[in-house]
Subunit: 389 residues, 5 copies
Amino acid sequence: MSDKDRQAEPARSRHRAGFGQRPPVGAMPGTLMRDPDAQQTQVRIVCYGPDRIEEIPFQGPQSLPQLLDSWAVTWIAVSGLRDVELIAELGNVLGLHELALEDAVSSQQRPKVENYDDYTFVVTQAPRWNPVHDGDAADLEHVSEQIAIFFSRAFVLTVKAGEGGRFDAIRERLYKQRGRVRKAGPGHLVYAMLDIVIDEYFPVVEHLGEKLEALEADIMRNPDREVVVRIQQMRRSLLAMRRAIWPQREVVYALAREGMPHVGRKTRIYLRDCADHLTQLIEMTEMYRELTTGLLDIYLSSASARTNEVMRVLTIIATIFIPLGTVAGIYGMNFDPQVSPWNMPELSWYYGYPYAIGLMATMAGAMLFYFWRKGWLGGRDPARLLQDD
Amino acid sequence: MSDKDRQAEPARSRHRAGFGQRPPVGAMPGTLMRDPDAQQTQVRIVCYGPDRIEEIPFQGPQSLPQLLDSWAVTWIAVSGLRDVELIAELGNVLGLHELALEDAVSSQQRPKVENYDDYTFVVTQAPRWNPVHDGDAADLEHVSEQIAIFFSRAFVLTVKAGEGGRFDAIRERLYKQRGRVRKAGPGHLVYAMLDIVIDEYFPVVEHLGEKLEALEADIMRNPDREVVVRIQQMRRSLLAMRRAIWPQREVVYALAREGMPHVGRKTRIYLRDCADHLTQLIEMTEMYRELTTGLLDIYLSSASARTNEVMRVLTIIATIFIPLGTVAGIYGMNFDPQVSPWNMPELSWYYGYPYAIGLMATMAGAMLFYFWRKGWLGGRDPARLLQDD
Amino acid sequence: MSDKDRQAEPARSRHRAGFGQRPPVGAMPGTLMRDPDAQQTQVRIVCYGPDRIEEIPFQGPQSLPQLLDSWAVTWIAVSGLRDVELIAELGNVLGLHELALEDAVSSQQRPKVENYDDYTFVVTQAPRWNPVHDGDAADLEHVSEQIAIFFSRAFVLTVKAGEGGRFDAIRERLYKQRGRVRKAGPGHLVYAMLDIVIDEYFPVVEHLGEKLEALEADIMRNPDREVVVRIQQMRRSLLAMRRAIWPQREVVYALAREGMPHVGRKTRIYLRDCADHLTQLIEMTEMYRELTTGLLDIYLSSASARTNEVMRVLTIIATIFIPLGTVAGIYGMNFDPQVSPWNMPELSWYYGYPYAIGLMATMAGAMLFYFWRKGWLGGRDPARLLQDD
Amino acid sequence: MSDKDRQAEPARSRHRAGFGQRPPVGAMPGTLMRDPDAQQTQVRIVCYGPDRIEEIPFQGPQSLPQLLDSWAVTWIAVSGLRDVELIAELGNVLGLHELALEDAVSSQQRPKVENYDDYTFVVTQAPRWNPVHDGDAADLEHVSEQIAIFFSRAFVLTVKAGEGGRFDAIRERLYKQRGRVRKAGPGHLVYAMLDIVIDEYFPVVEHLGEKLEALEADIMRNPDREVVVRIQQMRRSLLAMRRAIWPQREVVYALAREGMPHVGRKTRIYLRDCADHLTQLIEMTEMYRELTTGLLDIYLSSASARTNEVMRVLTIIATIFIPLGTVAGIYGMNFDPQVSPWNMPELSWYYGYPYAIGLMATMAGAMLFYFWRKGWLGGRDPARLLQDD
Amino acid sequence: MSDKDRQAEPARSRHRAGFGQRPPVGAMPGTLMRDPDAQQTQVRIVCYGPDRIEEIPFQGPQSLPQLLDSWAVTWIAVSGLRDVELIAELGNVLGLHELALEDAVSSQQRPKVENYDDYTFVVTQAPRWNPVHDGDAADLEHVSEQIAIFFSRAFVLTVKAGEGGRFDAIRERLYKQRGRVRKAGPGHLVYAMLDIVIDEYFPVVEHLGEKLEALEADIMRNPDREVVVRIQQMRRSLLAMRRAIWPQREVVYALAREGMPHVGRKTRIYLRDCADHLTQLIEMTEMYRELTTGLLDIYLSSASARTNEVMRVLTIIATIFIPLGTVAGIYGMNFDPQVSPWNMPELSWYYGYPYAIGLMATMAGAMLFYFWRKGWLGGRDPARLLQDD
């Protein structure tokens, strides 16, 4: 049995969190993996130029070259990854590199831009809401959906795993000739897609901010141990968010750089605007991360204030009653008063018992006064325990 | 129901902290959002050249081209964002890009500089005092007011949400022909505005420094649990301050760079001076951040010293009285002295009771001496608890 | 005795963790160290061109020049480092530098690329599973195996310490003419090797991720002190992983840079894909490192919650029973009821004893009510101790 | 009341820690602020060339141009900032920029270098000892004194707030023609000044190092709560020191850069030496900062060891005496031995009392043995509390 | 008394830790300080070329120019710094800069490379073992010895404070013509020296690694408070090591850079190898630093586990015996059973005493069962305290 085989085994039998579907170690690069759980593949084609626009039914990959010749821009939208052969053939007809196709079909690529000779390959990750408990807005979770975009002088090919009309608004605008989208070529169409993807991150980051504030309030009111787990989850979410957003900014900056083919000078101004939005998102995320660090400090000091309160009650009760018990114990001693006048004469005093009770009350009172001066009698508010003497 | 709709919903229904007013996801870029709560739009025009200066009443956007031709510099000051159509028309007449106008009208842009063909677009954030409890100086809070500045060879257009004469001092100087402002073109006017904005940050940062010192003093005197919340607030303020100031420095450096259009060589020296001020502000902010980290350490050690004091009192009382109680308990046992001379003969001693009391006093004294040697009898000063043996 | 000798001594007599076999201080650079424990040296030669491929038995270093002349690519695979003279002679025949050979033979070099005049020298570190307790998947440990690669226009020489067919999949592909490997020259062969090495890291990093999750679960369930040791081990593993992966990325980037000799333009695209995989690995590792930091916080808060529970039980028992004991002590005092009616008349009451027991029960009940209101009676769940009043 | 006025108010009425004297917000840039507490202005002029040197009495700014023409180097030393008009006139005669003059006169500028057309402007901060408690070397405090230097081909103008002969050694060397100072032009004179300023930092940083060591020793011996405050002060001092030294290095590197006007090639070698000294200072400061972080750990573990000692004493006393008290309590019960032979027959045993005392002694002994095995009887050394079982 | 004098005083009277001997503030740059404790100066000259090699007795600085003319390489090794005049004269004859000489003679310069016109100046720091307690290998301490190297086309001058044959191995190799040293000119000789210096760091760093492991083991077994001090010492050692090694890498990279005079192209390959070794050293040091941070966490959790154990014992004893004491106290009350049948009828029960003892045993048993379920009866292993319920 070879080295390779021994090593590949554990990898195959386990869940690959966050890495998506990978071909086995040693597989040929450029292999398109077929995922049996993938959604049905659908292809939708919209062709447009400055003057006209038309949605054309997909008649197989071989019909594309003719469309590319007749229209200014052909947008081929592939959703669902089950039919990898079809996607491979599409890539073949459009002259796409096997590695880029592999990335487009695998589901957890990092956002990136790659320039090939005739086309540019962009990967982006769009957020998607995933309700954890149905109907409870506070438990929405964010997951990523990968969108791969190939674009050249004449076409835009988008590949994504899920169905759904994330880009319907763009199609609408194309039809109504709103905006520059229709005049400005494939680069501007790609910008419009990235703009929508980035705008979708704002509610996600805002949602994290709200969860952070709720967490902070909870910690102040109720410093439960489970709070630390929520802080760790918050940290995990913010790390995931950061991992999603940072490389997107590199993507947008790369597309906005002078000399990027198929991106017009005017479109660059729009991409710069996208980059501004990403910077805002990053700043919010980083700020949340720093504030998350502070939460643990608040929790720990709250928990320690609780411990102090327990200590305080124990101290007050014990230090008041233990001396009283001792006094009572003394007058419970069995020294024989008849042997000598020195032996516990108090026991025969007329006011002996009231005197003993009075002694105890005085001791308890002195203690209470001492604790009151220390500020340890702050009632139910644990914070008061620490208020000054 | 499409993907996009499902996702946009939660975003719309919630408060967008720190992001300002954003158009909905999928809206056309360059859309100017009308905010019903915005202040009434006012336009004020000052035209000047080296020899003359005049405040000209605003007679609609169409009157601007003629002014631009007749005067060296035309300063159009727009305050209040309610009338977005007017602002859009102004932008149209002056040839401004729709995205820049959108940024000027939305309220929480990052400070930045953008070069367009014929003009430069600058966004800055000015501080503004927001009294939390009226009349109490210690509770002033700082918020940002965005000022958008467009400037070219011939005009300066400023757009801000609030009314008020932040730049009145510049107008005064222009009239009195004090300084270089009047001779030096639009670039110098922009410098003068940034200079005022940056100078306004100094009292804000100083105020934070004073709050930090007050917090440090409070922690030493009274290590309340609520202090941790104030530390978190301080951290939040300093993060916000940093987020406001850092990009401003980039703005000023970008304007001072050689080759920036419409900024004269002499003005660059002045901008360099601005950049120095921003560096000072940044250094103070960073120093405050590092000191804030130390505050938590002080709090935690203060709180733990308090706990130790509670422990000390409990220990002293308990360790003194528990043994005494045991001694009293022993002489309260009911062994029958008549059965044998070994059974509690002390009970019949002539000085039995004084002997028992003396035994207890000796034990208590020995304990007290031990504690005194340990330094645990430090009285009311909790710090003394830890002072050495 | 000279300085040098005195200093070299302790170095020689100790174990050199993580540094591999080094020649003694002052030894001539380029000395090949013979390691008596090294495996038997084996040489395997595969020659191929676009049209034909053959595995040729090794007939001594002197037979190589002829092979290099007759074949497009000659792949010389050396495994086992015992016969250093043979390796030195191979290096001599192929014109390799003595320092590069020394690095190839020593076992713990950092991954790197070095350009020599006629050839390029690459060092990489491949992961290898090391079962700690046989059969228990959770205790696999990762160690590195160094692979040194020399390649030029005509040959690829690989040197590694262990036997085993890590690269058997490549040989297979060469034979079956699958992929570009056979047409694309030595650079592409080197890429194929690096690709396999990098893909082998994924299961290792995933394994660490699983251990991290298991650790997190254990900490929540059972905050054992031994957990801190496991956190430290996790940190150590992640540091080692990082040390292994980071320089690999530099290697791949260096090879993918334009102008690197013997690496074709098409191969560069494949190397870029490798670099993406490494970036993914690095991001996972960094994320695990940040999460590991959070684990300690969870542990500490769990441990402190346990302490609080102990405190709570002590407090409840002590504060309930100490006052009761004091009451009992009072009625155990021996004041003489016959001396005066003030002396403990309760002792002679008809319901005296029930009254005393009732008094005690009332006190205990009041205490319990107080604790219940504080939420300190939360039963067995320690987290409940801290739940609010 | 305008925005500007409302905002400027709080700034004016408060102390501006660390920012020096600033003109009010909105003031014209380049305004020289007159400080009524400033020292009397004195001007001292030394002219020299390779062959001759002369100290020339100051006869007003208008006499300078003639001196500049007749001498190779004219050194104009201004100390005391009260007469701002005189300084303004000097600047005017020498052609200095109003902003540079403003910086020279205000007291807390960051060290920097600025190139103007005909001259270079340097700001440096020299350390100055400030005794906190007179005569106690351990309480010297370091404050900064700003020195502004203008230099061109022909003159060096130094402006500082305090009197005193910081640069007397340079004058001496000039007279004795020691060193290159006299031959080498204004640049070398500036170097000589910076060299003295930097050398003066060494004792300051060394002093901080000694305070750090003293603090570490104190923490080990006496982990007082006040120690945390001293750690915070140390942190503050190191931050201030860092803020003073880092920009100085930039200054020296900028001056040593090729192409800096008025600095000769030979002087650059000397400036490089200065930069080395600054690097040493920075490394010491950074090392002290890292060690300061460790101090808090030492303090916290010392304080927690103290708490543990208190706990230990409480535990030993309570766990020994509480069981004894219970035994005593049992034999103090009043069960009637006459009712049955089961009712406390021990009370009538011949050796009943010795048996009870013996039982107690055995229990106490067993406890002590248990504690001794645990190592909790470590005597007075608190560290021993934690020594192993 | 001038400013300068007042300030220089404290500096002179104190120990200058880590800064070496510095001339007083204000001294002329380039002054060579004579240190009365320095070792006797010795000069040893070896001249060689490809064909011959000879050790030539030193006959004064004036004899050098002739040697430089007649031999390919002249190596002048100066050890011991007492005779500064001789060193100054040597520098004079070889045309060395006064500042470089000053650095060579002072003992704590940072490693660096400086290019002068005709020669290059290198400072390196070699490690040296300093036994703290004789004979105990675990207490070796590392200190630095500075070696200053001047080299040009024709000579290598080494200056170091201590005697001893650190470079004897090089002399041997030169004589035996082993390696390239003799053919390759002064640059290769300098490389050989640096190679030895760097190799000597490996045992030092390994020694730190072993101390770290020993420390980790000790913390687990015996979490003594003194451990924190050892952690701080470890941190200090690693900081010092880092300070020594980082700049060495800059030195080696600078020498290996293309265009460095007097360093041959072939030697550059060897220097690159040196740089690899330094990178290994740096990585180990950084890893040790990160692991040191983790040690404190282990210590703190161990110490807190100990405290918990103390708490546990107190809790068990107190919560078992306090209730028993209360029961005993109740039956010690003196209510008069003759007054009513309600007054303590148990006292007259036939099995009253066994009943009371049984009640107590039941309570104790219930408590013990509760603690056993909580897992608090874990015996002697403190870790078990925290094991789950």
